[in-house]
Symmetry: C2
Subunit: 281 residues, 2 copies
């Protein structure tokens, strides 16, 4: 009767239906909605995103969908970032807890800025500032071309060079910095011969102040490498330990800031790197 | 005196200082804050993100920074996603318009779920669900390996294959789907010889139902290609027009859904693709 111990009321735990509704991509609704939901770790949620709700007719269809789910007995939670008045009023009629992420805050900003909100659908994830968008796309291209030390040309263009032994998280972090923040990020893999020589690897020497190191724990690194090449020397705890120790020594010797990636996400690494390298994004 | 026409009050327009404050990465504060700010296109903003505010002492230092800026004459706007009560109370004392993105909504969810919020710093962008995080990282790796038709092995593992002529936006869209949504996305470049043959390109034939096409306008495509190879046949309006027309014909003939990428962002493309391909993320 473990179920009853965990759930003393005796009611079968059910996933709460959650809807993220948007007149645009739904990214903002998902982001704040999920942040709020992490405050309730005891509950489980069944999430659906409905983007591009741009007419009252579409909103009415969404209300029907949500109401049909509510009729099954569990009141859904709705997070909405819809801006337009008519569509918002329609969605507000849902049989659900409707959390209006825009309407709640907009009056406060209208007061602060002394201006009325435009009322147009969110453009935060559209092309918006075309120059900024283009620079993000160029940064992705740059990151692809400079992944894993593939091309050492144009390192002078990099705003940051991530340095680490293989499988410490360089590539996804580089990609995240480029795609989300438009940062020109290159990365450079440290290999055994880099540790045998004195000093920084030759291609990095002119750019020491742009370098940021990643490290990990031997256990975590060995686990990840084993997923790639089981029972290899490459994945052995001994090899991982040697490479990480040598890399950390290199970072310390050359004043390169670094971060242990073993228990943080790419988002956390990117935020830390932007802050510590004082990169404006 | 154009300045005075645009700004009848005669006051020099100044950028409004905006702070995104967080006990975690700051991503959620930036995302909703920026969405709200796009409602005020007449104003300009000078944005600063301060992540990882996890103690009252740090919060006090932030308050001093914001107050010093306020003392220069323009009241800043502060968007906060800090969860912890003490830190929130400290930040609320800023000389600024403080928009509390968590506190405002949490009571509504506490009511709906019949439970108290945990009060722990946001984990939405941390490792959180380790399996889900790992699958996103694996998806990034997969996307890197299958970019631009590099490796046609393992296409059966793809949840989606983006198909398009060169420079229509396949790579950043693939990367976004992988990094944000953990979707296994491959991409396949259409080249001239693909248009000269009947049917789908050979490697795609078994996977037609996973294909999603991108197209563009000849003008936009030519402009992007010119940035890569000026005055080339590859970048000519005539060549771009031919490739796009042929690609669209291929999509239509084989019932491949497609999207014109010329005036939408990768975020919008990803949201549209997830919706139309009914990919659960």
């Amino acid at each position: 009767m473990l179920g009853n111990i965990e759930n003393p009321g005796g009611v079968e735990p059910v996933s709460r239906p959650v809807y993220f509704l948007s007149d645009s991509t739904g990214i903002t609704a998902e982001t704040l909605g999920n942040t709020l939901l992490t405050q309730f770790p005891q509950s489980t949620f069944d999430r659906t995103t409905i983007p591009f709700i741009t007419s009252v007719e579409q909103a009415q269809a969404v209300v029907s969908t949500v109401d049909a789910v509510a009729a099954r007995g569990v009141l859904p939670i709705v997070f909405s970032t819809v801006v337009g008045g008519d569509i918002r009023l329609t969605l507000a009629t849902c049989r659900a807890t409707v959390v209006d992420l825009i309407g709640t805050h907009i009056w406060q900003l209208e007061g602060a800025l002394g201006a009325a909100a435009s009322g147009k659908p969110g453009q935060a994830h559209g092309l918006g500032n075309a120059a900024r968008y283009q620079s993000r796309m160029t940064a992705v291209e740059y990151a692809m071309e400079h992944d894993d030390g593939q091309s050492l040309r144009a390192l002078e263009k990099a705003q940051i060079i991530l340095v680490a032994p293989s499988r410490c998280g360089k590539t996804p972090t580089t990609m995240y910095l480029a795609l989300q923040h438009g940062i020109f990020a290159a990365n450079f893999p440290l290999v055994e011969e880099d540790f045998e020589r004195e000093g920084l690897p030759e291609p990095l020497k002119p750019f020491a102040e742009k370098c940021f190191g990643l490290t990990s724990t031997p256990q975590r690194l060995s686990q990840i490498r084993t997923g790639r090449r089981r029972d290899s020397a490459y994945a052995s705890l001994r090899q991982c330990s040697y490479e990480l120790r040598s890399a950390e020594l290199m970072y310390l010797t050359h004043g390169i800031p670094y971060l242990n990636s073993s228990s943080v996400s790419v988002e956390e690494m990117a935020a830390t790197i932007l802050q510590r390298m004082r990169l404006k994004h």
